[in-house]
């Protein structure tokens, strides 16, 4: 039957076959790249980690105290702040990228800083994306803990500072979980950093943007190699979150 088919069919089959072949070859090449610690691969991975870890540190510095504060203080715009936080959490990263782009572009209000298409711009975008997420998780966990501890901490005459310190210390597992979730979101994000970073080789190219580019070019070896690293990072983060939340539930320290 096949022999009697048209040449187009044969071409189609051959095309599929060669694509499968490409992927296998790509996988092999990818493992070789990882195994040999390919210079580009290492550079891109390190930049990804640098950008996302910086964003994580800055976002945590804002979100952990903010979330705790929201949990223990009653003030006038508390509900509005929490609602805003939840709304910001649902903001599409591409839109964040667009806004940061406009703010940092030469004609924008922060244009003079010359940050567009630098890792700094990417960090800013990621901070905006993950701060609401971490703050929201923090708020949730701290509210629960505060309800539990409230009477005791009031009775012991604790200062505001001692209360926050106690809650952050005893809730550290939940906070770490929140931070890890933020990191997971940052390292896997592609839309915003593509826009504000520009995916410039040796300057702003990170795992996700490189994968997008290499896939587009049909260079599956590098794309897959980078993909494996990204998956490994994501798995590690998820595994850590899982372990932490399990120990949390079992009440072990």
């Amino acid at each position: 039957m096949r022999l009697s088919g048209s040449t187009i069919d044969v071409d189609g089959a051959r095309g599929q076959f060669s694509e499968m072949n490409d992927i296998w070859a790509g996988m092999l090449a990818a493992f070789q790249l990882i195994w040999s610690l390919d210079a580009d691969l290492v550079e891109i991975t390190l930049r990804s980690l640098q950008v996302s870890l910086s964003a994580l540190v800055i976002a945590s510095a804002i979100a952990l105290p903010l979330g705790t504060w929201l949990a223990i203080r009653r003030f006038r715009f508390r509900r509005a702040t929490i609602a805003t936080l939840n709304a910001l959490m649902g903001l599409p990263p591409v839109v964040v990228g667009l806004i940061v782009y406009l703010l940092l572009s030469r004609s924008g209000p922060f244009g003079v800083l010359g940050l567009l298409f630098t890792p700094a711009a990417m960090i800013i975008a990621q901070v905006i994306i993950i701060t609401p997420l971490i703050a929201s998780i923090t708020h949730q966990a701290m509210r629960e803990l505060w309800a539990e501890y409230h009477d005791l901490l009031i009775s012991l005459n604790t200062t505001q500072r001692q209360r926050i310190a106690t809650l952050i210390w005893d809730g550290r597992r939940a906070l770490l979980t929140g931070a890890l979730a933020g990191f997971g979101r940052a390292i896997g994000e592609v839309g915003a950093i593509m826009i504000v970073g520009g995916n410039i080789d040796h300057a702003t190219r990170v795992l996700t943007t490189a994968i997008a580019l290499e896939t587009g070019k049909g260079d599956f070896a590098l794309a897959l190699g980078l993909g494996f690293i990204l998956i490994a990072l994501a798995l590690m983060v998820n595994f850590a979150i899982h372990t932490l939340s399990r120990t949390e539930r079992h009440g072990t320290w």
Binding site: E148, Y149, I154, S155, L156, Q162, D170, G251
Partner: protein, 236 residues
């Protein structure tokens, strides 16, 4: 730790339009072991919290014999449902002293002493939230006493304890009382009230129904409801 006395004038607590306590006029002297009695929902917990200053009053004044911040600092409170910090038993005991900035060595000594007194020496390194109900109550009591408060509030400290633990805890309370701590305690255990109390406050429906020396209230209560309650009848 100099002694403290307190007087309530026309104190009332309202929640959602309902008066759950008061109006109450009451004086509590510097010494003594006061037991607060009354049926469920009479307002015993509310009264203790008002005295401790952690319950918002809707009217009236609570006047301690020393300035409010000093008075508050010299008090400790054991809640009806023990609150466990998510830490080890050791760190739960150490916590009130850590807040005061006490150095590590004296803290460790005090922790060892109090863990021994309430029989928790063997579980010092266990997470406190995993203790049994009775062990939690013992821990909460030791954590309250570790600051050597002038005034100790106890909201049913022996509710989940068996006979032997109750006896141990009563010994700890007597010792604390003899060393100068003024105790104000609620209990549903009338035997315990007789064993420990030097004076009695009887609450009914949020009001102060009867107050007096233990011997007098137990042996010759002035009000019919008090007598009925002490006889084990249902009062409402």
């Amino acid at each position: 730790m100099p002694p403290l006395s307190v007087s309530l004038r026309n104190v009332s607590v309202k929640r959602r339009g309902k008066t759950i306590l008061g109006p109450i006029d009451m004086d509590l002297g510097e010494a003594g072991f006061t037991v607060v009695l009354g049926p469920n929902g009479a307002g015993k917990t509310t009264l203790l919290k008002v005295l401790h200053g952690v319950e918002r009053v809707s009217g009236g004044t609570v006047q301690w014999s020393r300035p409010a911040d000093q008075a508050q600092q010299a008090q400790a409170y054991v809640f009806q449902r023990p609150i466990m910090l998510r830490r080890s038993v050791r760190n739960n005991l150490a916590y009130p002293l850590q807040l005061l900035g006490t150095p590590k060595v004296p803290i460790a000594q005090q922790v060892a002493i109090w863990a021994g007194r309430v029989g928790l020496a063997d579980v010092l390194d266990q997470p406190a939230p995993r203790l049994s109900g009775g062990e939690k109550q013992k821990l909460a009591l030791a954590r309250a006493l570790i600051r050597q408060p002038s005034v100790l509030f106890l909201d049913e400290p022996c509710a989940n304890l068996d006979g032997r633990s109750t006896r141990e805890i009563e010994a700890v309370l007597r010792a604390a009382h003899h060393s100068g701590t003024r105790i104000i305690m609620t209990t549903h255990d009338l035997g315990q009230a007789r064993r420990l109390g030097s004076d009695v406050v009887f609450l009914l429906n949020g009001g102060l129904h009867e107050q007096g020396a233990a011997a007098q209230v137990f042996d010759a209560p002035a009000k019919a409801e008090t007598r009925a309650f002490l006889d084990g009848d249902i009062v409402d």
